[in-house]
């Protein structure tokens, strides 16, 4: 890091003027696949990219213009090389391995020297592939950073049968063109069109409602704003400070107030060549979050492999599924669904004031302190218990994980399923930008990390405006917008201006609904999102979607069980029996028990009744809840580990202090389970219950003191005392064996019943 690092980044953005035209490769692949008499066996594509050196024309040009200083030349070249290398390392092979049809048919290698980068793509069994899919694999390496290169060469070779050698078909330098000519993004030449759009006064009204989420009257709550500024050769770039008519530079969110007139607003847009606005989820007041959002983003691979309408169908069905889960399963209001301007969708909610507090650097939701790995969460200052931004982000991720886990196969277009050979729907989704699955749909929540989202503005790549997709009355997605060609027409700035002039304001005057603290608390119930949040905390957003179906099922069920008992205990702990509103608390707890999926529901309900109506102590309640939890846990997840101890195992336990302490914990848990169940049965058959209970209690009193003492026994201590301790330890092990037999039989009996 040095003092001109930031300016260097801006300089590198400016240098990205050119791009390479891959259409030749596309045509060649199409020819090979369609015009040959039979489908060839193997195809090999080699891309050779030469990064710029100090003598390269690009560097020379910027140097002559005085933008690159002489001492910066080498550093710029090295940084550009790193950028190209980073962009080419895009884990395509590991991403493709998830899909059964493509699995093991492709080899992708990237080699880098000082002078060139070489990407080798080899595909066998071509009958499994379509030409679009093959081109998508090559196009995956058509990254923006290639624009820096002096030269990109492509070599296409084909082997027609399994035994024949690869035969070179094409060896050609790719033509480099101005990036604006290839991607047709919005440039400074389109400024008049952009200004026309902003000249419409309704556009300003909609934008200001995004900038001041609590209304124009409450101008203290204003979001930070980033904007796109138009460029002549490169794509629009993001900036935050604007040049004012007075000649001063100021942050855009400080320059705009509720009292800014339309003319003043237009003047700012004109001076700074503004293309679009990005309000932040964060307010200008530090550490305040106002928006929660989900961004559905389709990867470039899917976009190239399938037609736009297929991809849009996938996005729409995924959006509908998420909205359905939000409204039906999580009882939230219908969110605002906005077209992103390219191929994606934004789902947004407004957060009520003081919905998430983080006093003294801790988020004030009881449920967060029931999540696993509390120690590491407490250590990390950016974890969800410390940062409200991470908390909202994780909550959104939990919603998405729930959707990805429970979405049915019918919702995914058949053509995508067939061509990719999807065996597990989860493979099509990722929650993290850093995931190695680069070809799935990115369910992105990173905007919640105090980042930005586009609001009713023109997309710099496509020139389409991000408009709400919902019908203003029914709040469901408008049927005509499910057709991608019609959507494109509707999102053109000209169409929007004519619609606004015709008085169709309602379509665009749609804003995200508010969610309250109570609603977030409802999301965090153990029968709702808490287990999914636990999985995300346990495995991180990157690896949560990488689990095998069996593993995912195991961890979700385990966290459902753990979260339910821990949540119930925490809830009961916070209830005061002297409280006047005890009836409400009782109803709430009973509702929770009834809606849970645990098998010991009946017993738990009886215990809860005992606590509320028979005044049993909290300690007794906890012992019983722990017993039911442990019993459920052993029955569902660790049944094979409920075994008796052998002589060798006893010796091993005695000699290892760590294993011994684990053993004593297990012993205490077995004992508690047995005691609680015997108490339960003694109520029906009192004689048997009480006698067994008495004997167990006497055994327990002896063993408890011993277990405490044994924690500190030193192994080399061969005094008489240790001998007797060992004898007693063996006794405990015998009791343990009895208890484990009892528990095992009990579980088997309950399974039979």
């Amino acid at each position: 890091m040095n003092f001109y690092d930031d300016s260097l980044q801006y300089l590198m953005n400016d240098m990205l003027v050119n791009a390479y035209d891959f259409s030749i490769v596309k045509e060649r692949i199409k020819k090979i696949m369609e015009k040959s008499p039979c489908v060839p066996y193997e195809l090999s594509v080699i891309l050779v990219a030469k990064p710029p050196t100090i003598e390269s024309p690009l560097v020379q040009k910027f140097s002559e213009e005085g933008k690159i200083k002489s001492f910066q030349k080498k550093e710029v070249c090295v940084k550009i090389k790193d950028a190209i290398k980073g962009a080419l390392n895009n884990y395509l092979e590991s991403s493709l391995n998830r899909f059964s049809k493509i699995n093991n048919c492709s080899t992708i290698k990237i080699k880098s020297d000082d002078n060139e980068f070489r990407v080798l793509i080899q595909v066998r069994n071509l009958e499994k592939f379509s030409s679009n899919l093959l081109y998508a694999m090559v196009n995956h390496f058509n990254v923006d950073a290639l624009g820096y290169c002096d030269q990109v060469e492509v070599i296409v070779s084909v082997a027609h049968t399994k035994d024949s050698c690869l035969e070179e078909v094409v060896k050609q330098k790719l033509p480099d063109l101005p990036a604006s000519a290839l991607s047709k993004f919005v440039t400074l030449d389109d400024k008049e069109k952009v200004l026309d759009f902003f000249r419409c006064p309704e556009v300003k009204d909609v934008l200001f409602n995004h900038f001041f989420p609590q209304g124009l009257e409450n101008d203290r709550v204003r979001t930070e704003i980033t904007y796109d500024t138009l460029r002549q050769d490169t794509i629009a770039q993001k900036r935050r400070k604007v040049l004012l008519p007075s000649g001063d530079y100021e942050n855009l969110h400080d320059a705009i107030t509720p009292y800014t007139t339309h003319e003043e607003f237009l003047q700012i847009i004109d001076i700074n060549d503004i293309l679009g606005f990005y309000p932040s989820v964060r307010t200008t007041k530090i550490n305040e979050i106002v928006t929660a959002m989900i961004d559905i983003d389709v990867s470039g691979f899917l976009r190239t492999s399938f037609s736009p309408s297929v991809v849009w169908n996938l996005v729409i069905s995924l959006t509908e599924e998420i909205v359905k889960n939000l409204t039906d399963f999580l009882r939230l209001p219908k969110p605002l669904v906005v077209f992103s301007g390219s191929r994606g969708v934004h789902i947004t909610y407004k957060l009520a004031p003081n919905c998430v507090n983080a006093d003294f650097n801790y988020v004030d939701y009881l449920e967060l302190y029931l999540l696993p790995s509390q120690k590491s969460l407490a250590k990390n200052n950016k974890s969800l218990i410390h940062s409200k931004f991470t908390f909202i982000r994780s909550l959104m991720q939990a919603i998405l994980l729930y959707t990805a886990q429970n979405i049915s196969r019918d919702k995914i277009p058949k053509i995508i399923q067939e061509r990719l050979g999807i065996t597990r729907i989860m493979d099509l989704f990722t929650l993290s930008v850093f995931s190695r699955n680069k070809i799935g749909v990115l369910l992105d929540t990173s905007s919640n990390n105090s980042s930005v989202y586009r609001a009713f503005s023109i997309h710099p790549g496509t020139g389409l405006v991000s408009i709400p997709l919902l019908d203003p009355k029914t709040k469901s997605i408008r049927t005509e917008l499910k057709d991608f060609s019609q959507l494109k027409e509707e999102c053109k700035p000209e169409t929007i201006i004519s619609n606004l002039r015709a008085g169709k304001k309602d379509i665009y005057h749609q804003f995200p609904p508010e969610i309250t603290k109570q609603q977030i608390k409802y999301l965090l119930r153990p029968d709702k999102l808490l287990p999914y949040l636990s999985v995300i905390v346990r495995f991180s957003d990157r690896w949560a979607t990488e689990r095998s179906p069996w593993s995912m099922k195991f961890w979700l069920e385990m966290y459902q069980l753990n979260n339910f008992y821990h949540y119930l205990t925490a809830k009961m702990l916070s209830i005061e029996r002297s409280d006047k509103r005890i009836g409400n608390s009782y109803q709430e707890v009973i509702g929770l028990v009834e809606s849970s999926a645990i098998s010991t529901k009946k017993f738990v309900r009886e215990v809860v009744d005992d606590y509320f109506f028979r005044n049993i102590s909290f300690k007794a309640l906890k012992a019983r809840l722990d017993a039911f939890h442990d019993l459920n846990f052993y029955a569902n997840f660790k049944f094979t580990e409920v075994t008796t101890l052998t002589d060798e195992r006893i010796d091993a336990l005695y000699s290892n202090i760590r294993e011994r302490s684990i053993f004593f914990r297990k012993f205490a848990s077995y004992f508690n389970v047995t005691m609680v169940l015997l108490t339960y049965y003694s109520q029906t058959n009192s004689k048997i219950g009480i006698t067994v209970k008495k004997t167990l209690t006497t055994l327990w009193d002896g063993s408890k003191a011993l277990s405490e003492e044994l924690q500190f026994v030193v192994l080399s201590d061969k005094r008489d005392r240790t001998l007797t301790i060992k004898q007693q330890f063996v006794k405990i092990c015998c009791i343990f064996n009895l208890l484990s037999k009892f528990i095992k039989e009990l579980i088997e009996l309950s399974r039979l019943q």
Partner: protein, 248 residues
Amino acid sequence: MSFQDSNNKTDQKEKKVITAKSISNVIKTEVETKIKEFHDCGTLGMNFGLQTNQKEVKMVINAINGIVSRAKEGDVVKTRQFELMGKFPPYKYAIIDLEGDPPKFFGLVVSNQVYQIFVTKTIYLIDLYETIWKILNLLIDFYLFTFSNHENRFFKRILPFKLKEGNNKSFFQVLKIVNVQKRDFEGLVPALYSLNERSYHDPLLRNSKNIELHFKNGDYYLIMEHNKSCLLSTLKIVQKRYLKFHLL
């Protein structure tokens, strides 16, 4: 190096560890006392040990009031005292909290009475410790709840050697100091949030690292407010979590 050599080396290492453990008699005696403590103040013991009547608690409060007012007269030890609102059942427990290193502020809650005792100069620390000792003498039967191990360490290992009357180690060993943290380094604010409770106002934003700095600057009020917030938070955790978990 042969395979046997490496085996021998590991054996030696193991032996070293074991002997190091067996030699540490000091730790052993501590462990034994801990076990005794456990039996004395175990769950059943605490159930009986906490029970008392209003008279006894009032007597202790009156005695502490006397000590505090006498300490005030010397004009070396400063005090602040106030009452808490609400119902306080007569249990034999107190909340204690120390601020500073070495401690310069001592906070105490007995029933509904809150006492804050402190000195403004380090040369008067001995007077503060004498006052604390006198108060602790009255609380010998009480359970002293804290929210860290710091107090336990100070009262049992450091304070006995700081007093005028020489070594009072045996007295301090009998004190029933209980740390109510659920796990090591559990924060006070997350502990409150996990009980669905709100946090108390703290001018130091729960950052006790700057106490020495504030003490040097003479911002005693800030430290006292921080101490008050600690005491009230610990009291709430004791009432709403610790006692519920341990009382039958």
